[in-house]
């Protein structure tokens, strides 16, 4: 096994990552970094985190062997890491619990978050309620309209949802607005970023909190299947569920890591969100990474059927894993993801999130050409209850 110790102390993953923010945020980031590094090595913090993950989130999440699906494809065995069974229905809660615990120790009474589809917003509102903190969630006004149910969930949990009217009115603009709030209210406010992006230490910290997913797999796979998988697959928007499952596997070099981006209407159409597959390096949201940008360095609007993957950047560690060839990245388009969604519903009785359906679709593509003894482990990062309206609309059904 090769030692992997990214990022460096300044948050670099090779040429990626770093701290690209205005001077007004530097003190806040320095404070966060110092506090996180302290509590990361504090056994009491880690014990409480483990307790919360077990009793509040419901971990460990099981691994499920999708036998009917695998048999129907006639090749590799598909196993699902069931993050969809977590409290609030996705992997997002692992990270928000960790960051809320940190906020509490830092004496911050107010948390803010950005959200696209609303999953991270719901997970943030959830932990804010759990820890008795004020919560403000920034959400693009376009997403507020598309995700009315999640907006209501956040309100039920006591959060205030602020619609963002600037730019493309989606996730990236919500992130800009949350950063602006943080600059202004930094003394009493903790910003819970929902993915492995943003300035250092966020990419490292969010990865660490989510890496419980991969660590569980390392133990569960030998118990279930007698060995580690041949390939680990996960969808990549910002890339937090993928980093969560990839990270513990990075030193296990015989395990292929495959990230699946949103191909939208097809990468060639230009309507997609595949930053690693079709983008180029640049600087956005506090770090250097692959971006979807025009020839003048302006960030371009993305498209995906899955709001959670609809982001023009990607976590800097993925950029590094791509360039260093430790992980491979591919794109799955809307139709392929929808097909995988329906297949899993009918064949295994599991309704996956549209995000996770991208990873599943890639596994379904690969399985037939592989041997029956080979294993594909898919991170089923979330459940699809939130996607009912989107899927119904695509089928021409009004709910």
């Amino acid at each position: 096994m090769k030692i992997y110790d990214m990022p460096d102390p300044e948050g670099h993953f090779g040429p990626y990552g770093g701290i690209f923010v205005s001077e007004t945020l530097i003190a806040a980031i320095d404070e966060l970094k110092a506090q996180y590094l302290h509590y990361r090595d504090d056994p009491q913090f880690q014990a409480e985190f483990a307790y919360e993950l077990k009793h509040y989130v419901g971990r460990p999440s099981p691994i499920y062997h999708a036998r009917r699906l695998s048999d129907s494809l006639g090749g590799a065995q598909i196993y699902l890491k069931r993050e969809d069974l977590n409290h609030t229905g996705a992997h997002k809660i692992n990270n928000t619990v960790g960051q809320a615990m940190l906020a509490q120790r830092m004496g911050k009474k107010r948390i803010i978050a950005e959200t696209g589809a609303g999953q991270h917003g719901v997970a943030s509102a959830t932990v804010a309620a759990r820890y008795g903190m004020e919560c403000v969630v920034y959400m693009g006004s376009e997403d507020v309209r598309r995700q009315a149910q999640n907006v209501y969930r956040m309100k039920l949990l006591g959060a205030r949802v602020v619609p963002v009217e600037s730019g493309s009115r989606t996730l990236k603009d919500a992130l800009n607005e949350a950063m602006r709030d943080w600059v202004t209210n930094v003394q009493n406010t903790f910003y819970i970023i929902g993915t492995v992006a943003g300035p250092h230490p966020y990419p490292m910290m969010v990865r660490d909190f989510n890496s419980v997913v991969g660590r569980e797999c390392l133990t569960q796979m030998p118990e279930m299947a007698g060995r580690q998988p041949d390939v680990v697959l996960a969808c990549v928007g910002g890339g937090s569920n993928a980093m969560g499952i990839f990270y513990p596997y990075i030193p296990h070099e015989s395990v292929r890591l495959m990230g699946v981006e949103a191909g939208g209407e097809g990468v060639a159409s230009g309507h997609h969100a595949a930053s690693l597959v079709a983008g180029s390096p640049g600087v956005l949201h506090g770090n250097r990474t692959y971006l979807l940008q025009d020839s003048n360095g302006q960030i371009i609007e993305t498209h995906s059927i899955s709001a959670g993957l609809d982001y023009p950047g990607v976590g800097p560690e993925h950029a590094w894993l791509k360039d260093s060839h430790r992980a491979e990245y591919v794109a799955i388009n809307d139709d392929e993801a929808l097909h995988a969604f329906h297949t899993l519903c009918r064949m295994e009785g599991i309704i996956p999130a549209l995000e996770s359906s991208h990873a599943l679709a890639q596994a379904m593509k690969m399985a037939p050409a592989m041997g029956k003894e080979q294993i594909l482990l898919v991170n089923l990062s979330g459940r699809g209850d939130k996607d009912m309206a989107t899927v119904a609309e695509r089928s021409g059904i009004a709910l």
Binding site: E10, G18, I19, F20, V21, S22, E23, T24, I26, A27, A28, D30, S166, G167, K172, D173, N176, M179, R180, V183, T184, V186, Q187, P281, G282, V283, L284, H285, G286, R288, L291, Q293, S295, N296, G297, Q298, I299, I300
Partner: protein, 265 residues
């Protein structure tokens, strides 16, 4: 050497402080850029800060965000900004011009090409809002041979160590952000600003300007007593927003003149 040090020396001899207006190039149109710059100079501006539009201006408040969006709707690129400086230089070879913007358009153009183009256009200083000191140092190495200054921000939350680090890198002037927040906010405390500028001056050899939240002549007058330069941004962008296109140069010029008179009073 850029035009910036000579400008500060001339002002110091006259016992005056520098007035530095900001606006986004291409808001409301590229055609109005040079006339607006000229009107600012006639109104009493000493140094011009040109905003390079970016799709995700994380450090800016709503006013400058809107301004950036309007410019982008006009398709304005970093190259267009450089071309505007070239055109301005045909009629004004004295007034320093500073480009202020975010890293990505520069990264996309390539740092070397950007530095060369700044030199041929007649740019005097560059402020990259989201570059950390290490990255700014690399860009500075490319700008310095052309005599172009690297301008930096400092904030109320900057530590003494940070102030020292930035002071060692900065040339031209240092831009002190006078409040916690984004551009155009309104929670500034003049006495706190005076205390902070004194703190910066113990480490810095270049002049220290103040900006973010200066909305009227009275505040400008007050701060001119403690800082070497006053930066006015959002207030000017609001004037541009509120004016018909053909009135913009005249109205912006008149507004600058109000600030000028208040500062010199």
């Amino acid at each position: 050497m850029s035009r910036i040090p000579a400008t500060f020396e001339r002002l110091a001899r006259a016992g005056r402080k520098a007035l530095i207006p900001f606006f986004s190039v291409g808001d409301p149109s590229l055609a109005l850029c040079v006339p607006t710059m000229q009107a600012m100079v006639s109104g009493g501006a000493d140094i011009l800060e040109l905003g390079v539009p970016f799709s995700d201006p994380m450090a800016d408040g709503p006013t400058i965000q809107r301004s950036s969006e309007r410019a982008l709707k006009n398709g304005v690129s970093l190259q267009d900004v450089l071309n505007a400086v070239t055109r301005f230089r045909q009629t004004d070879d004295q007034t320093p011009v500073v480009l202020m913007g975010y890293a990505n358009p520069i990264e996309r153009m390539g740092r070397e090409r950007f530095a060369d183009q700044c030199a041929s256009a007649g740019v005097d200083g560059v402020l990259v809002v989201d570059y950390p000191p290490d990255e700014a140092r690399e860009l500075g190495k490319l700008l310095r041979p052309h005599g172009i200054d690297s301008i930096f921000l400092l904030s109320p939350t900057s530590t003494d160590a940070r102030i020292k680090e930035i002071a060692a890198l900065a040339s031209g002037y240092i831009y002190y952000v006078s409040l916690r927040g984004v551009t155009g906010a309104s929670n500034m405390d003049p006495q706190e600003v005076a205390r902070q500028i004194a703190r910066i001056k113990t480490a810095a050899t270049v002049p220290v300007g103040v900006g973010f939240g200066i909305r009227d002549g009275a505040t400008a007058h007050l701060l001119a007593g403690v800082a070497d330069a006053i930066v006015v941004g959002s207030r000017i962008v609001e004037e541009i927003e509120a004016s018909a296109a053909d009135e913009i140069p005249a109205r912006v010029g008149a507004l600058i003149n109000l600030f000028r008179q208040a500062m010199d009073a």
